[in-house]
């Protein structure tokens, strides 16, 4: 099918691209130039709001893929396991130091505003690892301390009924309505 195009449309489009046809109607070129300037202003304004395609967003994409059941590479698993092992080691040292201080229980207690939930599961380490991964993907603040027998997971920024946070809450045994800052004590069943 051959489509008949208006040559003035072609001239307008050329002028819009910044290459006006000198033979074209001056009115068409002027109009296209004005539209071009207005488009540039709009484009610049919108481009300022485009999120950066940075490492943080990439991590979120990876976390989303994992959450959706898309398998991750072995190297990533290794990285996650190494990161968890390093965290556990550092926290182990911290806990060892804290337990030597008489006031340690009080120091480890949650702040009055923080709810505390105790979860008993077969594999606490795995639960904590999953929760850490989810929290990183969601950009939430999460800290983990290990007492040897259990893990203390402090998490803040929870929003009630948030669909995005559901997998995290499920991993930690929290209800969908959980909100704000919560300390979850994950113990072996």
């Amino acid at each position: 099918v051959t489509v008949q195009t208006d040559p003035r449309d072609e001239q307008w489009t050329r002028a819009l691209s910044g290459s006006p046809d000198p033979e074209a109607d001056a009115h068409i070129n002027r109009e296209a130039e004005l539209v071009r300037r207005a488009l540039e202003v709009r484009r610049n304004s919108l481009d300022h709001t485009v999120p950066a395609a940075d490492e943080s967003l990439y991590q979120q994409v990876e976390a989303r893929l994992h959450r959706e059941g898309v398998p991750r590479a072995h190297s990533s698993r290794w990285k996650s396991m190494l990161a968890l092992a390093a965290t556990a080691f550092a926290l182990g040292l911290l806990v060892a130091r804290v337990t030597m201080i008489p006031a340690a229980p009080a120091m480890r207690s949650p702040t009055p505003a923080m709810q505390t939930v105790v979860v008993r599961v077969e594999n606490p380490g795995q639960i904590v690892q999953e929760a850490s991964r989810e929290a990183i993907g969601l950009g939430l603040a999460l800290s983990v301390t290990s007492t040897g027998a259990s893990y203390h997971v402090s998490i803040s920024g929870l929003v009630p009924e948030s669909p995005g946070q559901r997998p995290l809450k499920e991993a930690l045994g929290l209800s969908p309505s959980a909100a704000g800052a919560i300390l979850v004590i994950v113990q072996k069943k």
Binding site: A38, L39, T49, Y58, P71, S76
Partner: protein
């Protein structure tokens, strides 16, 4: 034959489609490096907030990874990737009730009702031609964000082939689409045309 260091879209989709962990991770990383930025820009220009754009990008990646193994090597991987991005955008717009159930982004019929909207007359404060066109274009972009985006790409000098990939049309149909833009913009800047004529006289 010399080979570019940058993997093509076909290479990337093939890597992701292999299904083993390492290939998939390499493919996802390469896809992110190549397509995340233009896709985020596409979503924002089509009316999504930055948060929504991030979310739809993630959804796009999930769909790409899930269906990469079914991609036919004979087809254009770039067109296929953009098709998934457009579908995810349309789904999101439907979920947020910004596009009716039967409509599709860049579907001519789907946008017809919007295009039939009679543009408002420019505000009385539009004293200069430049301001008049600027205000008219803002209304045009609000009513037809897809067309505003396409003429922005045209203005930036993107090739017709590349634009065709993004909007899911053939090259010929994309040329036709672009040539219609002047007529689509015209009602929104009709009063400016009068000012323009007065300026010239």
């Amino acid at each position: 034959m010399p080979r570019s260091d940058t993997p093509t879209e076909e290479d990337i989709v093939s890597l992701i489609g292999k299904g083993d962990g390492k290939s998939q991770e390499t493919g996802v990383r390469a896809l992110y490096d190549l397509m995340a930025k233009p896709m985020l820009r596409f979503f924002v220009h089509l009316g999504l907030s930055p948060d929504e754009a991030r979310d739809v990008l993630q959804e796009t990646f999930v769909k790409v990874v899930r269906s990469a193994s079914a991609f036919s090597p004979g087809g254009s991987a770039k067109a296929w990737l953009w098709q998934i991005a457009r579908n995810c955008l349309t789904d999101h717009l439907r979920q947020t009730a910004r596009v009716r159930k039967h409509e599709t982004v860049f579907d001519e019929q789907g946008w017809q009702s919007i295009q039939d909207t009679i543009p408002e007359r420019p505000h009385a404060s539009s004293t200069s031609v430049e301001k008049c066109v600027s205000e008219g274009l803002a209304r045009f972009a609000n009513a037809m964000p897809d067309r505003a985006y396409v003429i922005t790409l045209q203005m930036e000098g993107m090739s017709i082939q590349e634009i065709a990939h993004q909007i899911g049309r053939t090259v010929a149909a994309t040329k036709e689409y672009l040539s219609q833009c002047r007529k689509k913009v015209a009602p929104f800047i009709s009063r400016c045309t009068e000012l323009l004529a007065a300026e010239a006289s």
